[in-house]
Symmetry: C2
Subunit: 396 residues, 2 copies
């Protein structure tokens, strides 16, 4: 059946709501003028809520990977000992960036699909706690695992109190509860094209007081990503280099929607869509990659069954405009991923699961019309996320 708009089920870039699309088409303004300063201030104010911080939010014109690089080069010096806890391709990348800039990186590995284990961190640090920084990934986009950042950070703060805690929060911040200050995190990074419902192009980053102090001492070379310059400019409502103004318009519009929905509403919507995705995929016979105890509310990864011709199956999905993501790194060709973050609603998930069910039937795989979609709906009901009509409120 023809579909008029793709169902973009990749973990970013995410689908843009109408108001965000409109914002992306606005005319340019002077990036050294008062209208721009007000835009920056609004983003800062609203985004702090989702970071769980009283620190300012610094805006960088870059992909999330640029934000990771900024976190590293602004707080560390060549030769600094760094403990990385990679749990997938993005944790790998974070560790690699630190290494490229001369850090002495120790890797505490976790099997892909499982979460970083606070007990393993405790055991490691008990033997060797002489680190300048610990690198954590909040939500590992490549595996669909949300790591227990609060628990990991608590261990690090206890056993390695001198270590800065740098957290890749790119793909779940804004979609799930997060408390940078309460959890004692030092640097947190996110990206505009994930939960924030905007186009890619901006990375947002916040630093604790001790991270800002570290930025004064850090000796890794940096210019474009020098956060001291960004902070200096932010004090007068500017950025040091010309920013991605239209992406900021969109982030601003997205945050307005998120504020209206309330953080609790945003988080519950993501939890429900994630539960529906997992139940639907499992009913279709897919085995999920992530440890269920740490399954992500923003992206779900599933193994490609050995008896499934993925190219044909995925080709049929694409023909029906359901766009999934593939595996990354060593999981390439072995898994697929379904994004359910940003401007996602149950309709999108039921639609995607329904099309997958239809394609499975068409290819003669064991499937029963309505079973996967039904399982997805039951999962949402179980999560208590289909509200009485009166609770929905009027559209903004």
């Amino acid at each position: 059946m023809y579909r008029f708009e793709p169902n973009l089920r990749i973990p970013g870039p995410t689908h843009l709501p109408p108001g965000v699309r409109e914002a992306g088409g606005r005319q340019m303004i002077n990036h050294r003028g008062p209208e721009f300063a007000a835009l920056m201030a609004r983003i800062d104010r609203r985004m702090r809520v989702f970071f769980g911080t009283e620190q300012e939010i610094i805006l960088l014109t870059a992909a999330g990977t640029g934000g990771l690089e900024a976190a590293v080069v602004n707080t560390l010096s060549p030769g600094d000992r760094v403990l990385a806890m990679p749990t997938g391709a993005f944790g790998d990348r974070f560790a690699k960036i630190a290494g490229v800039y001369g850090a002495d990186v120790t890797r505490l590995e976790t099997e892909w699909g499982r979460a970083a284990d606070p007990a393993a961190l405790r055991a490691h640090l008990a033997a060797d706690a002489d680190y300048r920084a610990v690198l954590l990934t909040h939500n590992e986009t490549s595996t669909g695992v949300t790591n227990p950042v609060a628990a990991l950070a608590a261990v690090a703060r206890e056993l390695a109190p001198g270590a800065l805690i740098l957290v890749d929060g790119v793909s779940a911040l804004g979609a799930v509860p997060f408390e940078m200050d309460a959890w004692g995190l030092d640097v947190v990074i996110t990206g505009s094209q994930k939960a924030w419902m905007a186009a890619p192009g901006m990375s947002m980053i916040a630093l604790s007081e001790r991270a800002w102090a570290a930025a004064e001492e850090a000796r890794m070379p940096r210019f474009y990503f020098d956060l001291r310059e960004a902070r200096k400019s932010a004090a007068s409502g500017q950025t040091p280099w010309t920013p991605a103004v239209a992406v900021m318009y969109q982030v601003d519009a997205g945050l307005a929607l998120m504020e209206a929905e309330t953080p609790a509403g945003v988080f519950a919507r993501h939890a429900a869509c994630a539960a529906a995705t997992r139940a639907g995929l499992e009913t279709l016979g897919f085995r999920l990659l992530a440890d269920p105890a740490f399954a992500s509310n923003t992206v779900t990864a599933a193994w490609i069954p050995e008896d499934l011709d993925w190219k044909t199956f995925n080709g049929e999905l694409k023909a029906r405009q359901v766009i999934l993501a593939g595996g990354q790194g060593k999981l390439k060709g072995k898994i697929f991923r379904v994004g359910h973050l940003g401007a996602v609603n149950l309709d999108d998930i039921l639609g995607a699961i329904g099309v997958m069910e239809e394609v499975a039937l068409g290819l003669g795989r064991p499937a029963e019309p309505g079973s996967a979609v039904g399982a997805a709906q039951r999962a949402v009901l179980a999560a208590g996320e289909i509200h009485p009509v009166a609770a929905q409120g009027a559209p903004a």
Copy 2:
């Protein structure tokens, strides 16, 4: 008189034409899919014409400053001797980036407002040609001077044949003739928010064969801006990190307009608007900063007269929605700048000059209604750029 839309006369971000605005509001797509690959390919094909190169155009999600950093860190190693020829704030920045990453930078200075002199370069290199790179600024945005890049490059290639020639082409490429290959340039950088009529967020960069070879040897640390990764991904129609997709939509739309107008048409339009700006400002009694022989076709800088209360004058311009840029670096508070690049038409220039004339009259300054606007129009006529109606063609 109330104005319904600002006349944004800063040298970037520039005014977006309607089709480019619309492109900025488009829905997201999979950045690992065929639609995205086609978008990248179109930008590459159309932009090469304006670079004057057969090399591929690499897209970076960053401001132009990020592009400058990419040029430096991908071709040089710490300790390399570099000759910088700064002619203003952006040339200063280019030299500073090289220094931050450990290059041994020699600065051959030029008075701000004048162009870098090929004879001075010849004299310098005759005495000392042991450089790994020469840093040039094509159009110095802070002074409104377009440096004679072809002549400077010819001297460098003759006397320092081993030196790479890195050119900041951010603020004029696309608006004036440019021949990267014919002039023997090794790295050329530009930015989406300048002549390309798009929002900020992308920097575009091209490397010669010997620059690509240098990228394999260069030892400055880099990850986000590693152009080897960008080239590898580009071969399969992708970028290594999530790109600013909506800005690319806009660059693509802008290039389609530029192709329809023809490069010669684009260049003539900029020349005419620049001539009009210069004549109008001079008639209003402003002394221009730039050496007339090298006056930029994309931005004009003028001294603030000692007897003019700039804050009041500029405040009145702002109230009438004519937005000018101030001075940068050591020219802050001493000059103002008028941008005339990208989607600029004579209407915009006459409007800005007219408002300035009106404000000057209102403040009791010597001015005669119509004289500055008239001078601007005569300058355009002299440039042969008011065409018979038939030559205009139908709108696309």
